[in-house]
Symmetry: C2
Subunit: 197 residues, 2 copies
């Protein structure tokens, strides 16, 4: 393990607990236990290093999501129980890997200023849509039609990032897994009813 790996690890750490914008080359170098000149040598620039570190963060993020979706596949449970189990695990992950999740939100902001990041986030969102839709409905990704991915997948993805924000900023008032399922069902029921509810 040379400086290169140390720098990547240090950059990932900084990305999590300082965020993209406020990490300096010296922050990274200190976290990595390396002279900051090594950044220029191995990566060319601070931004290039951070971009590469962000890819590591996306992998970790994928693992966390997978862990949550894995919780929602008990064949003996009802769909609702499975759905709540998913959120129970997701919410736990929000707390357990708080900094990581925070970094994913900041990535959304950073995407606006760094084209490469934008591409990565777009890719991640597309994969999430189909992944969520398939796992949620219990249909293999191959046989999943694009329309369902765009509807169910997009909604689940939106709930994921939206509820993440609530849990990060105001966990006191954020909805529990039951609240989520209740709200979803109540909202859909209201929309479906032809007369006023």
């Amino acid at each position: 393990m040379g400086n290169r790996e140390d720098l990547l690890a240090g950059a990932l750490a900084c990305l999590k607990d300082r965020g993209w914008a406020r990490t300096t080359v010296r922050d990274i170098a200190t976290a990595a236990g390396v002279n900051h000149a090594a950044i220029g040598y191995h990566f060319g620039s601070r931004d290039a290093l951070l971009t590469e570190a962000f890819m590591l963060a996306m992998e970790e993020w994928g693992d966390e999501v997978e862990k949550a979706t894995a919780a929602g596949v008990d064949p003996d449970a009802s769909p609702r129980e499975r759905y709540e189990a998913f959120w129970r695990e997701a919410i736990a992950s929000f707390g357990r890997s708080r900094e990581l999740w925070l970094a994913t939100i900041e990535a959304g902001v950073q995407a606006e200023h760094t084209p490469k990041i934008k591409e990565l986030v777009q890719m991640g969102m597309q994969m999430s849509r189909t992944g969520f839709a398939s796992k949620l409905l219990g249909v293999p990704e191959e046989t999943l039609d694009g329309q369902t991915a765009r509807t169910v997948g997009s909604i689940q993805l939106a709930l994921m990032s939206g509820l993440l924000m609530q849990w990060l900023i105001d966990p006191e008032n954020a909805p529990s897994e039951q609240d989520i399922a209740d709200g979803l069902v109540a909202l859909a029921a209201h929309i479906t009813n032809s007369p006023r509810a």
Copy 2:
């Protein structure tokens, strides 16, 4: 209109198209057409000015949300039509006031580093929950019980920020108002069904 007002307007502009982290005192001063020393005189520090400007952004944000909710109250329309009308207007606003919406996301990140901002965002989220729930269900805020606000309101708020992210980062693949309603109903139907769908 003295420097103070100009600085606030300039800071708001910078907040929108440069974001909190990357706006410098000189950016603001230039945008305001004012010497940057005036920031110290009128607000004490860059962060204090940005915090005050952020409150202006929150007001504008409230107006945009209100405009969208107003689109969802046609008494002749079905609940579903009203819901889609809301999202049609919301999505239009995402495009029309792109920078403003972007600033609200960055606020979520900034909340992590600036307690005052965190308070403001928490407040905004609480108001949004009850506001959304009441407008959506057609129930005055006074008679709305806390549980419904936490469930339906939280879900709608989550969809709002989650779908905003999708529309900001990848409008090409973001769901339309029909997609949203479809997905919501399909997801709820799946959860409700006792056997597998």
